[in-house]
């Protein structure tokens, strides 16, 4: 039994966005650069109330675009501040240029992205196309299944990003409306425990350290660009261990431990579904139904997507007869979603690799219910039994699409 003190906690009901705002209040960052966008708006709206009420001493800058919001965070982090923001969809898309600056400058910024579909056509509902597009931007990405996990991830994110072995920006993702606007039961740590956990931020170097002047983001040509990128790549690789360590340490404080992956009924499963974020809950319900009928099915939910825990995933899925990877985003390359391809690649070197298919679901908030999950599992069971099943396709589309000429 652990001897560490488990913090006092308050049980309450909060939406995902309220929980994220509450975590930000408890973390009390130095600077928050913000611009409103649905469905992340209420994160900053509630946080601005904490600022107005004097519960934090954060400098909240309401700038004129997301590009500027991320720029403000970069400026603040360069000066040695703990900087945070929240956004969604087009907001993240407009931050694109700055995402690479943040990771390239090795600034431990924490960004909450409330996942929402990208335009066109305009859609405010959930899918993962926003953050999936940023998967190669050098940001660590954590995907949260529940309100509780979104809250817990925000607190851990600070430590992961600021760890001396890492010093990289991090995105905490939660599903737009499904998690962000739904009230769930949640346990909140007391302010002191969160402050103890995140600690005071002492940057290795900063622009305000006048005794040790430095320049950030300067030109680095053929002789120095690649070694810097190599260091960044190594830091990304090293961050996996840090995510494990922090997840364990957080468990000692809160009683809720986190790893890289969540395995649900996976040990003896012959058929597995891989899915991120809130939809994992739906698939787990379907798995419960099928387990009651004696079917050996399970779920693998990666929590960490960047860096990609390929060894752990290969180990978890090795020996399964068949796997279906559910993607809430399409790579638009005729070869499935990003998670599908990464999982497939991770399994390539495994001698006991399962058969594997990919399905794209829930784009722009299209419904994904237990029946959809049962259909997908049924198809994967057929694949396990040796039947011919399509490698990649869409499931659960809406019925009101207007056909574009020629398609």
């Amino acid at each position: 039994m652990s001897t560490a003190k488990v913090a006092k906690q308050t049980a309450t009901g909060l939406t995902g966005n309220s929980a994220v705002a509450y975590a930000m209040m408890q973390i009390n960052p130095d600077v928050c650069g913000a611009y409103p966008i649905t469905p992340s708006t209420t994160v900053i709206e509630e946080f601005s109330s904490y600022v107005a009420d004097g519960r934090v001493d954060t400098g909240l800058i309401t700038v004129e675009s997301e590009h500027s919001a991320m720029s403000a965070c970069i400026g603040a982090a360069s000066a040695g501040a703990r900087a945070m923001s929240a956004t969604s969809s087009q907001g993240l898309a407009l931050m694109w240029e700055m995402l690479y600056i943040a990771s390239g400058m090795r600034l431990p910024i924490v960004l909450c992205d409330v996942n929402r579909a990208l335009s066109a056509p305009i859609n405010i509902h959930c899918d993962h196309s926003d953050t999936m597009g940023a998967r190669d931007s050098g940001w660590i990405q954590l995907y949260s299944e529940t309100v509780q996990e979104a809250y817990d991830n925000m607190i851990q994110a600070v430590r992961i990003a600021e760890d001396k072995r890492v010093q990289l920006p991090i995105m905490v993702c939660l599903d737009g409306f499904i998690t962000s606007h739904s009230i769930e039961n949640i346990e909140l740590l007391d302010d002191e425990s969160v402050q103890d956990f995140v600690g005071e931020y002492k940057p290795e170097r900063s622009l305000l350290d006048v005794d040790n002047p430095l320049t950030l983001g300067a030109t680095a040509l053929q002789d120095s660009y690649m070694p810097l990128k190599h260091q960044q790549s190594n830091a990304m690789k090293a961050s996996k261990e840090v995510v494990i360590e922090i997840g364990k340490e957080f468990g000692e404080v809160s009683g809720r431990s986190y790893g890289l992956l969540e395995e649900y009924d996976l040990d003896d499963a012959e058929v597995a579904i891989v899915v991120l974020s809130s939809s994992a809950g739906t698939v787990k319900d379907a798995v419960d139904k099928l387990r009651a009928e004696g079917k050996k099915v399970g779920v693998l939910r990666p929590r960490l997507f960047r860096p990609f825990p390929h060894k752990e995933i290969a180990k978890a899925l090795s020996g399964k007869k068949a796997v279906c990877v559910l993607d809430r985003a399409d790579s638009m390359d005729g070869f499935g979603g990003p998670l599908f391809k990464d999982i497939r690649a991770a399994l390539y070197a495994d001698d006991n690799r399962p058969k594997i298919i990919g399905r794209v679901f829930g784009l722009g908030g299209a419904d994904f219910n237990v029946d959809n999950a049962l259909d997908v599992i049924g198809e994967t069971i057929k694949l396990a039994a040796g039947e011919d099943v399509e490698l990649f396709r869409y499931i659960g589309e809406g019925q009101n699409a207007q056909t574009i000429a020629g398609c």
Partner: protein
């Protein structure tokens, strides 16, 4: 005289009820604007002005960005494009450049045009490409529930300025004029008939026309700033808070202090961008 619809040669004298139907996409109605929002009034004034000009639906392209005002193109039966936050001017520039015969209208808001799209706004004005820009100005971001925008008056309350804004606002018209727009005017949703006339002139003008339309948001701005109801809000901001150019000219400066001036504020003749481009082509191709 034929029974075919012809352009009204004497606008604003119509007595019979105006028929908006030919200009609207009935399947997209009712609109999403809140009860008490002036955006519907602006749309009606715009459609009446278009009718007075005799423009055909297919000859008009309406482009918008993101926000409450940017929902306008969804309701009108023109060639419409609903694009990205702040980028409507850039898209509209492409539309006009590709097909200069189109009458291009941009419907935008204060946040869309002057914050995230501020850069595109000034450069659209500078180029003087023939398009009409309607800035539905309600001082806040309505669609995301009331954050302060760059036109919010000092001291005004929003979700991002709970104790009153400390930032000075942009004057849309001064900004447009300085940036080079050749037609600059202001109207309000309260003065609907005056707005129709102003928009008629703005649409007719060749070059970049900017019309700043005070059009307060009862749901957020009105509530936050203690306006009792919609009519009181419109009266205090749009009616009593403004004065026409003609009235302002007759009164001594102390009587007009603190009032926002309505009407046509600036009109200039300058080479339109597409014409300038054609001149360039002619010159380098030695025509």
């Amino acid at each position: 005289m034929t029974t075919e619809a012809t352009a009204r040669t004497v606008p604003y004298k119509e007595k019979k009820p105006f028929d908006y139907d030919p200009y609207l996409r009935q399947g997209k109605l009712p609109h999403i604007w809140c009860a008490g929002c002036g955006h519907g009034i602006v749309l009606k004034s715009l459609l009446r002005a278009i009718d007075a000009l005799g423009w055909k639906n297919d000859d008009i392209s309406m482009v918008s960005g993101i926000g409450c005002s940017s929902r306008t193109p969804g309701y009108v039966d023109f060639n419409t494009m609903h694009t990205l936050h702040g980028r409507a001017f850039a898209f509209a520039t492409g539309v006009k450049f590709a097909n200069p015969k189109l009458n291009v209208i941009v419907t935008t808001g204060d946040g869309d045009a002057l914050a995230i799209g501020g850069n595109h706004f000034i450069h659209a004005a500078r180029r003087n490409m023939d398009m009409t820009i309607l800035v539905y100005n309600n001082y806040i971001y309505g669609m995301t529930s009331g954050q302060g925008s760059p036109t919010m008056p000092e001291g005004a309350v929003s979700t991002t300025s709970r104790f009153g804004s400390i930032e000075p606002p942009f004057d849309t018209c001064e900004l447009a004029k300085t940036a080079g727009a050749t037609f600059v005017a202001r109207g309000t949703a309260f003065h609907a008939q005056e707005l129709e006339k102003t928009l008629y002139e703005a649409l007719k003008h060749k070059g970049t026309s900017v019309v700043d339309i005070l059009d307060s948001c009862p749901t957020y701005y009105g509530r936050f700033n203690k306006h009792k109801n919609v009519s009181e809000m419109m009266k205090s901001i749009e009616k009593d808070g403004t004065i026409s150019v003609a009235q302002a000219a007759k009164l001594p400066p102390e009587k007009t202090e603190g009032k926002i001036v309505r009407g046509i504020l600036h009109r200039a003749e300058r080479l339109e961008y597409c014409d300038g481009y054609q001149n360039l082509l002619d010159r380098v191709q030695n025509k």
